[in-house]
């Protein structure tokens, strides 16, 4: 056996070349920057392109209202269960609306089993803020008997697949599931609440907010509807919640600062997107 010789006599390449996948793994930020410089994103979308969004209503028969939302690969199921409790002493006429999200380990390798993660609790809290201030549902319509009994709507959200922009998907699922809720007629008699079997009464909305998210890369590029890969690299984001009149309900901005022009741009894009979301949900309502 002789020595191993370089038969092809290839000169060593002075610049190191990588497979694109290797590059993405070791230099994720630089990888994204290379795409953004060409005005395109790694999944082929342009900056302002939202992923394909679908909504399915009344998909869970054990829930009083339910919806499944898919934004790209992100899949969210929201089911609402109605129970009864005593109203709060300072708000004797009001019922409760309790949103809660479960980011279970099934949806992404980043979540571990156990009590809800920090991220899940933050999303639940933000959803709660969005529902309570400004008011979305008139909680007084949930009253059964003043000071005695009121409906408690548990809006439980389960993430089946986590591929970024989870908050927008949660808001869409939550609002469309609330619109799908049908409650029975209930009466309060001697400490007991009796309800009819058939469900007739729907919730009345004060306003219908949806949220629209943008990721801000390098302080100047606004990427609409970021996916998981983009979100893991970009730490700055703007989320805007607006209602049907185009009025702002909430703004969440995290990370580096943004200019007022950028904010205005986001709001105008959000208004355009709002129209698309309403038409998607209208279609879903007709399909059921």
């Amino acid at each position: 056996m002789g020595k191993v010789t370089n038969e092809n006599n290839v000169k060593p390449n002075p610049t190191i070349t990588f497979e694109a996948e290797t590059f993405r793994r070791i230099q994720p930020e630089e990888y994204l920057r290379k795409f953004v410089q060409q005005h395109v994103r790694p999944d082929g979308r342009s900056y302002n392109h939202f992923r394909k969004t679908t909504v399915n209503l009344s998909c869970i028969t054990t829930a009083d209202g339910s919806s499944m939302v898919r934004i790209g690969n992100t899949t969210i199921v929201c089911g609402i269960k109605a129970e009864v409790s005593e109203p709060k002493l300072n708000f004797p006429k009001e019922g409760y609306l309790v949103p809660n999200i479960d980011l279970s380990p099934i949806c992404s390798p980043r979540f571990k089993p156990g009590p809800p993660s920090e991220q899940a609790q933050i999303i639940s809290e933000n959803l709660n803020k969005l529902l309570k201030n400004p008011k979305v549902i008139d909680l007084e319509t949930l009253c059964i008997e003043e000071g005695k009994a009121a409906w408690v709507l548990f809006a439980d959200i389960v993430c089946v697949n986590y591929d970024g922009n989870i908050f927008d998907a949660c808001v869409m699922a939550l609002i469309s599931a609330l619109a799908d809720v049908k409650l029975p007629k209930a009466v309060y008699e001697d400490g007991l609440v009796k309800a009819t079997e058939e469900k007739i009464f729907a919730l009345s909305f004060i306003r219908i907010p949806y949220s629209i998210s943008f990721a801000m890369f390098d302080g100047k590029h606004l990427l609409a509807d970021p996916n998981e890969m983009e979100e893991s690299i970009i730490k700055s984001a703007i989320t805007i919640a607006i209602d049907e009149a185009g009025q702002l309900c909430n703004i969440w901005k995290v990370g580096t600062s943004c200019t007022s022009e950028q904010l205005r741009f986001c709001i105008s894009k959000a208004r355009e997107r709002y129209v698309d979301i309403t038409s998607i949900i209208e279609k879903a309502k007709q399909a059921t």
Partner: protein, 272 residues
């Protein structure tokens, strides 16, 4: 005192100002009496038109969770289950293990049952998780995966009968493990049956399950002709159990063809 107790159980997040402490389901005034609904008519057909030995139509699809190594979604009319498989990945505990670890977790969504479930894991979920593990473990070549863990997470979105739900979860998990490209000796198909008034109702739904005197869940590897797990409860004659096992193995073979079909489809998708 109370807060301390709750914190120690890691449930402190359940207490917050937005939600009431105690909630109950209202008493439903029934217009139709559930006891009077007949489970089968004079021709032996069930409420949904099935014969006693028929199973519900199955919708099974792989690759629905893009973040997981393998995944599957199964639907048996109302029953809806998603399963994601992560791994084989490095075992976190320091001790050496020559065999791979299989970790199965089944979770009911809070809205999946007639009564709302709490979001933390209860005893039933732990029991069912263990049963899924028992049924799956013999089929997976864990001896080829030292120092690794396979995590199987199952999420029940809607539960239409717990026994049939467990069977569907096992079937779904088996397909998801295969979708993750993990070596197996065979696929595990599972099927349930209820004993009601001397009859065997295959793949029973919730209303049938509420009236059963006993039930059986059988997990079976059709190509190897081996049973990986049987769970029977209730008072049943031996002859009836034998018959139920036979019927379940037949049904499992039918489920097996559906599983193979969906795996073939997923391979075709991946080739494109």
């Amino acid at each position: 005192m109370r807060n301390k107790l709750i914190q120690s159980e890691n449930l402190c997040w359940l207490l917050d100002e937005h939600r009431p402490e105690v909630t109950v389901t209202p008493i439903i005034i029934k217009s139709s009496d559930k006891e009077k609904i007949l489970l089968k008519d004079v021709n032996g057909r069930r409420r949904d038109g099935r014969n006693l030995e028929d199973i519900r139509p199955i919708f099974l699809k792989t690759g629905l969770i893009s973040q997981a190594n393998g995944s599957a979604y199964i639907e048996l009319r109302q029953t809806k289950i998603a399963c994601g498989v992560y791994g084989p990945r490095q075992t976190k505990v320091a001790s050496f293990s020559g065999k791979g670890n299989l970790n199965c977790e089944i979770k009911f969504a809070p809205f999946s049952c007639l009564k709302r479930r709490q979001s933390y894991r209860d005893a039933q979920e732990k029991e069912l998780s263990h049963l899924v593990f028992e049924a799956l473990a013999p089929s997976i070549r864990l001896d080829l995966l030292p120092k690794s863990t396979i995590d199987v997470f199952i999420s029940v979105l809607e539960n239409d009968g717990t026994a049939s739900c467990l069977a569907a979860a096992i079937t779904c998990a088996s397909v998801a493990v295969a979708d993750a490209g993990i070596e197996m000796s065979d696929q595990v198909a599972a099927c349930s049956a209820s004993y009601i008034d001397g009859d065997i109702y295959m793949d029973s739904d919730l209303l049938e399950e509420q009236r059963e005197t006993g039930s059986i869940v059988l997990s079976y590897m059709p190509s190897l002709n081996e049973v990986t797990h049987i769970l029977q409860s209730g008072e049943v004659e031996i002859s009836q159990t034998t018959q139920a096992i036979e019927q379940c193995t037949d049904a499992c073979s039918k489920i097996y063809s559906v599983m193979n079909h969906s795996l073939l489809e997923s391979v075709k998708d991946k080739m494109q």
